[in-house]
Symmetry: C2
Subunit: 201 residues, 2 copies
DNA sequence: CTCGGTGTGTAAACAGTGTTCACATCTTGC
DNA sequence: GCAAGATGTGAACACTGTTTACACACCGAG
């Protein structure tokens, strides 16, 4: 659709949104500058008024994908309300977002890959919550309520992160056809994390 | 260097070898057909007599990278000789190749990514050993010698695979700067796997 | 030994890419 | 109301993967 005015008005965010759509269905590397320009209704060169590189656009799409996962996780946490923090509540909150992480990768593999590839090139902004930070907070609560021993406070984050990220990447890389993967991968990950960290397992 | 004879003689394997070198230092996606042709001393079109696609060449490089990891793991196993299989020996063998997997990713991140990206497009050949199969065998020995309970025989492979692959990918994606990662990642992975699976932990 | 067929290499072209540049157009602050 | 800066344009450039028509080299059958 041709624009009415000479200027687009919000090309930068429109380009990111379009890039996000491409990445969702075909992956980050399927983003091509001229196609983005066409979709947005603008000449190819216009895109480079807002991004020095195509790589910078991809990096913004990557950041945007991470934000989407973070928002999903935050929404999960909000659903629990903000009553007093019991051990049981801490468990449920943590396990809900752990599941969410894996489910996100399974249901949107391209987007998940986009979110975590090249992500050194697109550091999180100061104030926006990263999936990592959200996970970290809920683990802190697990330690505070005694679900995880204080001695494991250091180990717990890397243990949980490794588990969810490992299962997620195995699924997004077509390695799902191995024994033991018949079960729901999110269930499996939670089971593994319990064994590694929970005091009562 | 210009060739002496009109025909190259072994262009296909030379191209894969050259692609491997590129992937090792700059990643799979840095492989460019014309550059490979130049390095090998041949015209750009010649490459396509041996690969229908550049993607097929990349897939062969990917398979080659997986083979390299597999060979490293096999070399580790052979170093243990083939005496009688005790529980202690089974542990050492398994933990050695688990470490190797993570160490490979840390020391050759580009090659590791190349090995496991797109790897649906380059299935392992019938007879060449995949890292996955090698890991699977050593886990079988852990069950056979009682280091892992028989009830966990199903869970163990996916648990170990998830742990090593998760830690490896976290490192190759620039996510190493998180708390708890000061320790040697291979050590950490082994510790986690022990907690998940070993009967005496 | 020859001689055709098949496998392998070449040069030139094509369509498509990221990116730049000189120029056009709009917007905005004074 | 107007200069200055931000934003969009069209044409180019260098580069890519890939194809095509042709050239050379090997190899087995006669």
């Amino acid at each position: 659709m041709p624009r009415t005015s000479y200027h687009h008005g919000d090309l930068r965010t429109a380009a990111i949104r379009e890039g996000f759509a491409v990445a969702e269905t075909a992956g980050l590397e399927a983003i091509v500058a001229r196609e983005i320009a066409r979709s947005v209704g603008v000449s190819p060169a216009a895109v480079f008024r807002h991004f020095p590189d195509l790589e910078h656009l991809k990096a913004e799409v990557s950041r945007s994908a991470r934000e989407k996962l973070a928002r999903l996780m935050l929404r999960d946490l909000e659903a629990f309300g903000n009553g007093p923090l019991t051990a049981e509540l801490a468990r449920q909150r943590f396990e809900r977002i752990g599941r969410r992480y894996v489910e996100f990768a399974v249901s949107s593999p391209h987007l998940f890959n986009a979110a975590f590839s090249n992500c050194g090139a697109s550091p999180a902004r100061e104030d926006d919550p990263s999936p990592w930070n959200i996970l970290l907070e809920t683990i802190h609560d697990l330690v505070a309520t005694g679900v995880i021993a204080k001695a494991d406070a250091e180990l717990a984050p890397v243990a949980a992160w490794t588990a969810v990220h490992g299962m997620a990447t195995l699924y997004t890389q077509g390695l799902k056809r191995v024994s033991g993967f018949d079960d729901d991968p999110a269930d499996t990950v939670i089971k593994l994390i319990r064994r590694m960290l929970y005091t009562d397992s």
